[in-house]
Assembly symmetry: C2
Homo-oligomer: 143 residues x 2
Amino acid sequence: MSDFDSQIMQVLEGYKAAVLAKDVDAFIKLYDQDVRVFDAWGTWSYQGAAAWRQIVQQWFASLGEESVAVSMEDVHVTGAKDMAVISAMVTYAGISSTGERVRAMQNRLTWAMSRMGDSWGIVHEHTSAPIDFDDLKAILERN
Amino acid sequence: MSDFDSQIMQVLEGYKAAVLAKDVDAFIKLYDQDVRVFDAWGTWSYQGAAAWRQIVQQWFASLGEESVAVSMEDVHVTGAKDMAVISAMVTYAGISSTGERVRAMQNRLTWAMSRMGDSWGIVHEHTSAPIDFDDLKAILERN
């Protein structure tokens, strides 16, 4: 695996680990200070890591005893020098305190990342689910 | 305006012009052959310009006498050398044959673009609307 690939992998693995541990600090470190987030839920856009941090904090706090296992499929990576773009299908699985998978939801994920020395920071995140034409509801399972 | 900025602007203006003219050829020329599209509507992912072309053709055909005026706000551009990422709020306004604005819908738009000589091709597109927590419906107006 090239340096580039392994650095990108570090961000993906860092994201999964931070969500599973509900570790807000580790999570937000993956992002650039000026990140622009188009999140799947409720709000059009968040500007800056401080605004995004608040939402992540609320998300982790809302989980109670549960935790969330993130997995990614169909990961495409483009770029190399100073900028990279990742697109993927993400599954967020709710895990009970006894280790059971109690629910799961899928999203499309796009990350634009900028090189910061030897590592990469997310400068733009876009997550979503496709919208059903007929009832305008989000489709949250890929089946 | 730098060469970079004006080249990026060309893609934005090319997109608006192709949609307004319902010109499938001009539209699809903006995209890389291997483009991956996460479209707001119905389907999780389209792979390749040929698959995307079919959807665009259906979209334009479905408009009948109407046309669609695209406008973009809050456009952020990052990158420079071989890769650029654009994020923006897009309004798609339906215009009647007599020139009246009959409806409008908003989307978040992300484009990853690769340099192809003197121009740029879209290698990844992600459009979406945020999902309301309570009824799981897409929010299609930003107000």
